[in-house]
Amino acid sequence: MARRTAIVGVGQTYHKARRPDVNIGELCAEAAKACLEDADLTIREVDAFVLGNMELFEGRYCQDMWQADFVGAFGKPGIRVTTGGTTGATLACVAFEYVASGVYDTVMALGFEKQSEGDTRAGLKTVSDPLWIRWLTTGAIGYFSRQARYYMRETGAPEHMGSLVRMRLAEHAKRNPHAHLRLEIKNIQEAMKAPYLIPPLRQTDMCPTSEGACAIVVTCEERVPKMARRPVWVKDWVTVHKEAMYIRGGKHSVEDLTMAASRLFRRNGITKPREQISVAEIYAPSTWAELEWLEAYGFCEKGQAWRLEEEGHFYWNREFPVNPSGGVVCTNPIGATGLIRVAECALQLRGDAGEHQIWREPTLGFATAWGGSGWTVAVLLSAQKE
């Protein structure tokens, strides 16, 4: 890499189902301001902007044009990248590349979604080829119900596992002031009262539609000493895509997740991921996906994730904290979701996560985003420079 890069500021809005008090630009401004405040920078010190969201979800065409005036991008270089569910993490990666290239010293990545303004399900259905099976697709819910059934069958996980994951995430979300859904779930019986979407997937197993924005500031090694916050170093990042899924069916495939993690781990000498990595903020749109994907990333053996979950292994104060922020199942402003993973990971490594700060001295953080036709972006962050 040409230059080392570090995250020196993160900011996010309080994520909600609806934000009628702000328009899209104003929502983004909140995140940009929070981020600058966190980094103790003025907008003049930001050299370039990387902006993104889901293009059809609010209906706006070239949304960055309206956004630019609200995030301080006027008169500055900027680019808009949109890669669906992975957009947020892609924004972070592009910001890393902007800084690493040596062309820009300090760059802000900002993603948002304002899902109440459009119809998310209609938006997601248009992912399908209009001439092929757009009329048929069941969107994310159909996909993740199949995934859950598949995981149960393959690993023997009992049906209450989804609710058990949700209980952990709910506990985490309660500790994270920015989280959207903050359910009080007393016990597993109560959790299992949630209605089915498509069995075994319950309403509480699936991510919500949220409104919110998230921003991070990335800077170069030379500028780090001048920054107010403890830097979180960017170790590496990777993107893996799959072919267009013309037919989603049969066996659920996780090869994109596995390939992304293994590439990242191999390049960075990680052989025992669950021991070497202190915290994972993974983009799992459903509780069941979280279990399966922990296995796919290589954090545990196949069929082991639900057993570790039963033992409470993934709580914020336990051996391997997973989604201490509450994860995507509690907060999902799509264009920001991937960036929130990176930002939350950075907060943990900095030791600034507040009530959901993980228990041990963190060294490495792993953040991912997922979307498209089975795409994964994975980012490895480090508390130490080396």
């Binding site: 899209i24 059809l56 005036d69 001439l131």
Partner: protein, 175 residues
Amino acid sequence: MIEGLVETVQGRLYVPYRNWLGKTASLFFRELRDRGRLMATRCRKCEKVYMPPRSICPECFMEMDQWVELPATGTLLTYTVVHYSYSDYHQPRKAPYALGIVRLDGADTGLCHLLGEVDFGKLRVGMRVEAVLKEERKGNILDIAYFRPLREGSESTNSSDSLSPEPRAGDSRRG
């Protein structure tokens, strides 16, 4: 057409959206709708007066909470005459119609809007214009019906009086 080959398929995207306008724009539209007033925001730092009003000064990246009432009169910064119709739903008028950017007196920025009661051939950059409000207002930018040329001698009219209602059919006041 070749047998056994579909060349093109007609389809469409049809998705309704509901975009929130935010506090600042809501306040602007409510004042316009309920009181017929044109309110702008002012940046405390650079002192620019923004019309249409925004919550953030794009140059200073500062929140703006100062409101300034502006008169309905202003200067035409640029204009065009639209000669095509692409959608009855999206275009506020049938073509041809005139559009312009108007800088209201006291503002530093221009508002893009329709121009009315004007001979297209007489449109000039720099011409003085005034806002004509609709009688029935709904709380959106089209509550201003259009801007029309200020007639000579009417410059002295004080701000809020010049917000004359849209002339009704048969209204001869404007000749």
